[in-house]
Symmetry: C2
Subunit: 568 residues, 2 copies
């Protein structure tokens, strides 16, 4: 077998076409229902896989998405390529300086996020093996270790996608979760590599545990330090010295693939390699926004949906479903992860609501569990029912994590931005022509509302803005800072007729610009205000009213009107 | 076998990374040597394949590019996907109205381009079987039919790539060649399907020949008529009514894959399906330039190089090389195709040089011959030496076709643009702010140089411009028209300080704008003048001198200086 025959190629094209169409359609439905897009994409795979299509039209499914044979291999190759590229994009979005800033909470969250679920999982299996249906040839110790590991590995791709879908990826909390997830997962994969070594699975046996740790650390540092410097220089050359059309795009691809292969060689999942390359390349000021955008769009709208939908294809969720076991696994997994990460975050000084949001964020599993599960099933470590329970757990935690993060702000009465927007803080016509000028104008308004020095506000906001632009979608930007000496949040709103580039993910210039200043000690306020702005302004009609508002009273009327209509 | 194991996935990522890097590097080298990029990309595969890497480092090649096993299948799947996407882009570039305009020559070129090489190939095998080493189990009739078919199928992807690389894709000649190649290839594949039926290869046996012809015609018309209308409406909805990020990109992908699968189902190669979908989608005014660009860049800089380099991987060119046979095959193939197509073009009223250019353009083979060859080898129709000869023929004809087209204008002393650029036709500072105004200004200059009515010039040039924008790379645009009543070519040159969007393939606004008017009867003049402009202005330093030229004398001095330096 070396190539796709004619009828296999036909099935391959059809399979990709149908999978992509279903994933994008259901992803869009999820988006309109205010759910993370990834939930719809996962669901598309479940519907097209053995669970539904396979049950009612097994021949159609067998033709489109065969479990074995060339077509299955080709789809798997494409899917592995897709997840590697998706992590490249996720990496490009990461702001290294923001990750360092969150240093303490990252370490605390990721350690607690491994230890607690691992311990809970191990104890559960060890003390109540009958609950897990352990019998026959299955080894209790190996099963317990595997189960504990499976509970402690988060899913970086799903977490990244959920945070992107919620527009929280670039927030401080988002960066903490991502950094902790990377750390968590690297440790998790090392544990898994050891475990695989114990049962003698050869492909993971290349190195000893000490070598794996050393190689992973060395390779990561090489990419992040040396690689970052080299990439920046190469990008500079390609951008300014050598006229070579499309070279940067190809270069990004090539180093991503080599990084992925390198991590794979060590025995760690390849997506860590592409993620780190993404971080290193994304950090270069010579990566033009156009190139970044081109990669991002292609990956988000083609590769990522294919990968996430592909997950659902792998399992028949109906046939091997064991409700009691599944509920048990979901509960243990969620308690371990949310409690572990939440407490870890709280211990490092994060506020309670944000700690819980971090806990739920880290609770996402997904691809990783399935990869692990397939491996374990293949080696006879677990049985089919456990496999389905693990996969279901992965999907349920992925689905609930977005919802939970969003709902968390309703634990207590949340901040509403309109309550902190004073009359003099509404500028119905900004004069500014660029980001810096806009922030200056708004900082002056904020100064008169708060009594703080406007220079000081401006410099803090600019520092934040430089670390990570604050343009979100729909022509909205939310420059912000946490300041000492503030008693309560201060929100200013400026309308720009011409629009100002705030580097939003959809490329639209910002016409509605909120400056958000929150007290340094109040961790929750910033996140809640941003969420409130996003939720309230989701409505296009309201955004248009807001753009048309001539004065503060019209503004308040528009927002209160929308609020009373859409909220209880 | 259902998935890539860890070490296979590593090889897969490395293979793609290395293949892409080599293809892009050698492609760039080819470009700098004024060769079509595709030649370098093909060569990259030959170097990395069994011919070179396999000979000196067989283990490395066996690891990266195995001939069988999951990794080979995954690479093959990606490569098939790549060529389908490449043909989508090629299709999007096609201007249907231009194809209709070339109607008569298209039919004449494509029929002669099939009949002549087919006849020549068949006669050669039938009368001189010993030259082809036919012996043992090989059936002379089947061999002769197969060989004749192989000679008469052009390679649409290679032709499209060569013409794009030479910037001639959008010219009248380019459109004739592409339209003829499509027609030619559809007929060729139908003949091949019949032939495959004769030897009982099951996957091609689904339909009878009548059904294949009827289905192909029906499906093509459905895409080009009904599909075009539906796509346009869907694009309109997605663009104006439904806010759904990235929907158009995904939509284009999905219909492309379904179109490819449809053609595959009929028994015709899937690339015809994606090509036709590309034509239909590209025709919609609601396809934004941004989306078109995003698809084009990704495909040209990632997928296409992977596909073309992948061709070279398939064969060991050294081991089975039979010089006499190869030369014989190359000669018969080239004579048949160039003569057939060239005479076909000439008979339909094209000038001699352009007819030969069309002949050489159609002479490109490539992927198709290899697909055919693999199939024939697999079914014992041909032997290995013939296989290598066919593949070499495909590569040689692909490599020479670009060179030949470029050289054709030197058959006689070609037109030089500077000789037709009068003093009053140089406008060193255009006032125009858009394309229409620029054409008006230049048309007025052309009117005083030619004595023709400026309104008339303007309307003819605009008509051409609307059918197909004339921005080429490097900030150059070449609006043009063929006019009655001109005795000799008229060239005007306007410099725009701010740049005017002429929809160039590299997205750069045009600052150097040539208006080219040629006599209606002189087919060669337009092409030669455009080629001369492109060749002369390839030099960046010269372009800068030209932008800085204050008057006609400085302009002429700059160009003559460059000409005497670089030409004999």
């Amino acid at each position: 077998m070396h190539a796709l025959e004619s009828s296999e190629a036909m099935a391959f094209f059809l399979a990709i076409g149908i999978l992509l169409a279903a994933a994008r359609l259901l992803g869009e439905v999820a988006r309109r229902l205010n759910q993370p897009v990834v939930v719809g994409e996962l669901l598309a795979g479940v519907l097209l896989g053995p669970t539904l299509l396979g049950a009612y039209a097994p021949r159609a499914m067998g033709f489109l998405f065969p479990r074995t044979g060339p077509c299955a291999v080709a789809l798997d190759g494409l899917s592995q390529l897709s997840v590697v590229l998706f992590l490249l994009v996720a990496g490009m979005e990461v702001d290294l300086s923001a990750v360092w800033r969150q240093g303490r909470s990252v370490i605390s969250v990721s350690i607690a996020g491994i230890v607690v679920p691992f311990g809970l999982g191990f104890i559960a299996v060890w003390w109540a093996p009958h609950h897990f249906g352990i019998q026959g040839h299955i080894d209790r110790l190996v099963f317990a270790l595997f189960f504990a590991t499976a509970l402690s590995i988060s899913s970086l791709p799903v977490i990244a996608k959920t945070l992107m879908d919620l527009d929280l990826y670039r927030s401080d909390m988002g960066m903490t979760v991502i950094a902790a997830a990377i750390f968590n997962d690297v440790v998790g994969w090392i544990v898994f590599a050891v475990l695989a070594g114990m049962i003698g699975a050869s492909s993971f046996n290349r190195f000893s545990i000490v070598h794996i740790v050393a190689l992973t650390t060395g390779f990561s540092l090489a990419i992040l330090v040396l690689g970052r410097w080299v990439f920046d220089y190469v990008l500079y050359l390609l951008e300014n010295r050598i006229h070579w059309p499309g070279a940067i795009l190809s270069f990004a691809f090539v180093v991503t693939l080599i990084g992925a292969a390198g991590m794979q060689w060590i025995g760690i999942h390849p997506i860590f390699g592409s993620f780190l390359v993404g971080v290193a390349i994304g950090d270069s000021p010579h990566l033009r926004e156009k190139t970044r955008k081109a990669i991002e769009e292609f990956v988000s709208f083609v590769f990522a949906p294919l990968f996430f939908a592909g997950i659902g294809l792998k399992v028949n969720f109906a046939a091997h479903f064991d409700l009691a076991l599944t509920v048990f696994v979901v509960v243990i997994a969620s308690i371990g992860k949310v409690l572990g990460c939440g407490l870890g975050a709280r211990l490092s000084g994060t506020s309670w609501p944000e700690s819980w949001a971090i806990g739920f964020g880290m609770n996402s599993r997904g691809a990783m569990q399935i990869i692990l599960g397939v491996f374990a099933l293949h080696h006879g470590i677990i049985h089919e029912r456990m496999f389905v329970a693990l996969v279901t757990m992965a999907i349920v935690t992925s689905m609930t994590s977005g919802i939970a993060i969003k709902r968390l702000v309703t634990f207590r009465r949340p901040y509403r931005f309109i309550e902190h927007l004073a009359r003099q803080s509404f500028l119905s016509a900004l004069q500014a022509r660029d980001r810096r000028e806009a922030i200056r104008e708004l900082a002056e308004a904020a100064s008169s509302a708060s009594g703080l020095n406007s220079r000081c506000i401006e410099s803090e906001v600019l520092k934040r803005e430089e670390a990570m632009p604050t343009g979100i979608s729909n022509g909205i930007a939310v420059p912000h800072a946490r300041l000492d000496g503030l008693a309560r949040p201060v929100v200013c709103l400026g309308i720009s007729r011409e629009g100002i580039d705030f580097d939003a993910s959809d490329g639209e210039p910002a016409r509605i610009i909120f400056l958000i200043l929150t007290p340094k000690k109040d961790d929750a306020a910033q996140l809640e205000l941003i969420l409130d702005i996003m939720t309230t302004l989701k409505d296009r009609a309201l955004r248009e009213k807001l753009l048309a508002a001539a004065d503060y009273d019209e503004l308040v009327e528009a927002i209160r009107g929308a609020g009373s209509a859409s909220r209880p």
